[in-house]
């Protein structure tokens, strides 16, 4: 399982990358894409949408299932990765390159619950 060290992780299998002072990229982890199987569609939020921690920001579809993507932060969506609408399989092929949303976060202290790469790997091992 691939777990880049420079990212933070949520217990619901999203990764978070800080790309600016108050901007983050969010995507799904390798663990998640393996469990979900081949993805066929992604439902993304709209630019301007408000996100709340642990609330669904969108969902991903495989042939026989739908899974919510839960927001690991509070914030406002500033950009969505529209490429995923035509090629959802990118999440399977390159989970850490296929970002879902770009979010301007409100308060950075909320992100203390996020796990480091080591913490996330340990968490996943427990889940198995």
């Amino acid at each position: 399982m691939n777990t880049p060290k420079n990212l933070k992780y949520s217990k619901t299998h999203e990764w978070v990358e800080f790309v600016g002072a108050d901007t983050v990229k969010i995507g799904l982890t390798d663990f998640a894409q393996q469990k979900l199987g081949k993805l066929v569609f992604v439902n993304l939020p709209l630019v301007g949408d408000e996100l709340l921690i642990d609330e669904p920001l969108g969902d991903v579809e495989s042939v026989k299932a739908v899974s919510d993507v839960l927001s690991p932060v509070n914030g406002t969506v500033t950009d969505v990765n529209e490429e995923l609408l035509d090629s959802p399989g990118m999440i399977n092929d390159d989970p850490y390159g296929a970002w879902l949303v770009l979010v301007k976060v409100n308060i950075t202290s909320d992100n203390d619950d996020l796990l480091t790469a080591e913490g996330y790997e340990a968490f996943c091992a427990e889940e198995e």
């Binding site: 569609f41 969902d59 579809e61 042939v63 739908v66």
Partner: protein
Amino acid sequence: MGHYISITDEQKKEMLDAIGLSSLEELYDAAPSHLIKKNGLNIPHGMSELETLRTMEALAAKNKVFPTIFRGAGAYRHYIPAIVSAVATKETFVTAYTPYQSEISQGILQSIFEYQTMICQLTGMDVSNASVYDGATAAAEATAMCRERKRTKTLVSATAHPDVIAVMQTYCWAANAEIILIPEKDGLIDAGSLHDMLDETVACVYLAQPNYYGLIEDAPAIGQLTHEAGAKFIIGINPIAAACLKTPAESGADIAVGEGQPLGMPLSFGGPYLGFMAATSAMMRKLPGRIVGETTDSEGNRAFVLTLQAREQHIRREKASSNICSNQALCATTAAVYMAAMGPEGIKNAAVQSLSKAHYMASKISEIAGFSLRYKGEFFHEFVTECPLDTEKLMSALEEKGILGGLPLSGGGILWCATEMNTKDEIDSLISVLREVKSK
């Protein structure tokens, strides 16, 4: 007592022995005993097949089958080629389940895929689903496709079929969404009122084409008004008329729906009928219900499957946009056979004949004093005339001659219909009877 049970008494005993019971009643031991219906149901004893047939034939005999029909209003008598029922009664098509196991259901899946294609060809739209219950529920489901966060209001033309409006109202009430009637003017949608009603809360506008009175609306103009306000345009069409009229696609529709009964289904006292739904590719994933798609199998052969299932209730559950599970599969296949057998020329012919006979009939009826045409607009195969007589007496007089006359409208007047099934002689007989009744 009638039954379809194959298990003999001897087999029953063997089966009970195998599971360690001595009577069928013991199978229900887990249930509270006072719930078991001890004295049996208060319904008649069962019957042999012959008795059931006689009973049902007697009920059928209490209905009058009119040899001549001049009534439409949402259910139309067209000629159904014999091949249509020959195919629609094929036992495997009749007794098959939904094609979830695609490897043994290619026949069903392909026939639905062909149906979807033909609906696209008829309407000009990009995608179609595998059908829904009827034209009215199709219209209601279409409004749900258009609702989003800020736009939740539906505007429906008052010139749509009353049952379509009623079903749309029930579905919108269910979803706590607003639905408002667009007033009519001279039998057509009042574009001026529509213009005033459109704002940024409107999700969609529904227009019937032809409308309930048989009149042909200026769909492209209504479509343009709708889009300028940022709302979606839904057109409900008659599939036979679609062979002649500007298509929903050509009129700018985002969604095309309609009642498919004219495509090979008999009148059947209202059902089962067929709701078709077609949309632009942009709206594809919002379509409710089943959709068949083409793919390949592991050896590269063409294969059909139910696809985009993640939209549906069995996967999305409370997040599904609709709870719809069944389509009207056998009716969709019926429509496909009809369209395949009639072909583009055949359907156009049925449409042109319906149009022509209706116009002849309209001109002859309106020659009778008091039976003037109510509206001035161009019509397809239905039209409204005034009626100077007591409509009940008139309909009775027609009934005696085996004629089902036009539908008396609640506000007065009669909605007449002609199809390719009505001969010139039939229409001329109608005129004589009308003149005769009038003169009394």
